[in-house]
């Protein structure tokens, strides 16, 4: 007797977590709860990466999405004007169109998923030196492009906030006079 039976059970639990939490993020009205459930979705996805043998990617998933992006979203929620206002209004009228779109995408995906019988690729990514070597040799160019893009976004964000602050200080000074 071995532990082969554990993996499908864990996979089932994780996939239920991903789907249920993902649906709840869209359906729930409270934005903080939605943000936290999104973090839960990311955690379940990280668990799936671990099941695939890609621990490194799982760790980065948690580090970046749970540790940074969710906190950033919560920050944004807390600094914007609050009110757990109902979002249902936005979604009311589009329901039929949305249903058609979802069906158009979901049915082929489902069909494909059930007809897909190829063996799973061997797990990679848990192999840290291999991953690092491929990122910094074969994929060095896209990696650098992505980092330059992020740098540009960061500089842009700083410029936007800085200008705002200076203007605010000016108006405040004028008001005081």
């Amino acid at each position: 007797m071995t532990f082969d039976f554990v993996e499908p059970i864990v996979f089932a639990m994780l996939s239920v977590g991903v789907i249920a939490a993902g649906a709840a993020v869209v359906l729930i009205n409270r934005i903080t709860a939605a943000a936290l459930l999104m973090a839960f979705t990311f955690l379940c996805m990280a668990g799936m990466f671990v099941l695939l043998g890609a621990e490194t990617i799982a760790a980065f998933q948690v580090l970046i999405y749970v540790g940074a992006i969710t906190v950033l979203i919560l920050y944004g929620v807390m600094f914007t004007k609050s009110g757990d206002r109902p979002y249902a209004l936005f979604f009311q009228h589009q329901t039929p169109i949305a249903a058609i779109f979802v069906a158009a995408i979901a049915i082929p995906v489902l069909l494909l998923a059930f007809s897909f019988n190829a063996p799973a690729p061997p797990p990679r990514g848990g192999d840290l030196p291999g991953l690092a070597t491929s990122v910094f040799t074969d994929f060095a160019f896209p990696f650098e492009i992505a980092s330059v893009l992020l740098l540009a976004a960061m500089v842009g964000a700083i410029v936007l906030t800085k200008r705002d602050e200076a203007e605010g200080a000016d108006t405040r000074r004028r008001e005081r006079r």
Partner: protein, 382 residues
Amino acid sequence: MPIGPFGLDPVIWAPLRLVIAVGLALFLILNGALLQIYLERKIQAIIQDRLGPYHVGPFGLLQTFADALKLIAKEDVRPSATDAWFFVAAPALVFCPMLASWLVLPFAYDITGADLNIGLLYLTTLGSMTVLGIVIAGWASNNKYALVGGLRSAGQLISYEIPQILALVTVALVVGSLSMRTITASQPGPLVNVLVLPFSFLVYFIAALAETNRTPFDLPEAESELVAGWLTEYSGMRWGTMLALSEYGNVTVVCSIIVTLWFGGWQGPGVDALPLLGVVWFTLKVYAFILAFMWIRATLPRLRIDQLMSFCWKGLIPASLLNVLVVATLALAFPSSRVPIAIANWLLVVAFVAGIPFVQRRRLAALRARARATAQPVRAAS
């Protein structure tokens, strides 16, 4: 089918091992927290020329046990205006990552939960998850002090995570591995990493003080400004879990990282003959750093929030980026020798320590100039 340890079937042994590991970690965290609270009070008392706890038990040793019993027996208070789910979930969100990070701590060569090949990354990941629980706690409390404390804490933790990770990167560059066991094994005998990478250690130590909310970086719970920060509305065992268990557990984890990465982990005299001695050495080293944390807490005053942030973003992060650049370049240029890296790193330490008075003097001059500029109109008016 292979037979597991103690002649047990692996099917029984694997879950049993999990239960034992989690139970042992919980036991160590609980007792570590009790011991560290006692030590903290006693050491601060000695430094401040007081007696500290001395009524309960010999030398007041049982004081923290009594406190813990009181906390457990306390009524479970939840203010009615709080957010029920988040308020209850926050202590767990703070506690669970800390508990999970004990998995990779190498107490001795064979005594570790799991030797992950991404051990260091795993620890960083779990450290970053704590922020989420703190922000949620501040938000759920429905209290302005808690909210400000939570946001401050999040800002502080996210900022100081960057120099912390950059310091870890230099160690990974030199050792060439993220596994805690390999990192320990790469420092045989007296040649510990702190001799090679003293600047990374300095940066990590400062950032670790901030990550664990210790003085001089305990802004999130600055009681003179914020009551108790994000813990304001918590009491009883929820407070105990968040503050006592999680904070002291995190201090232990961070000190274990310091010891493993820079001070040779479990290695020490006589370990080769008696491997179990590694646990003793590891614990002694870890507690030496915990005592250093307490010493700093008893000595230094608290920073202001803008000083805290500007020290990180203008001081630590550029310095640690420079450190990564230097170490990476030298590691590429001299792959077989660590001496150039060590020389460069010691020079960085000297430059950093010597640079502080210069920066401080310029900052003070700027502050005085600004004060003079704003003071003159008042004098002219009066």
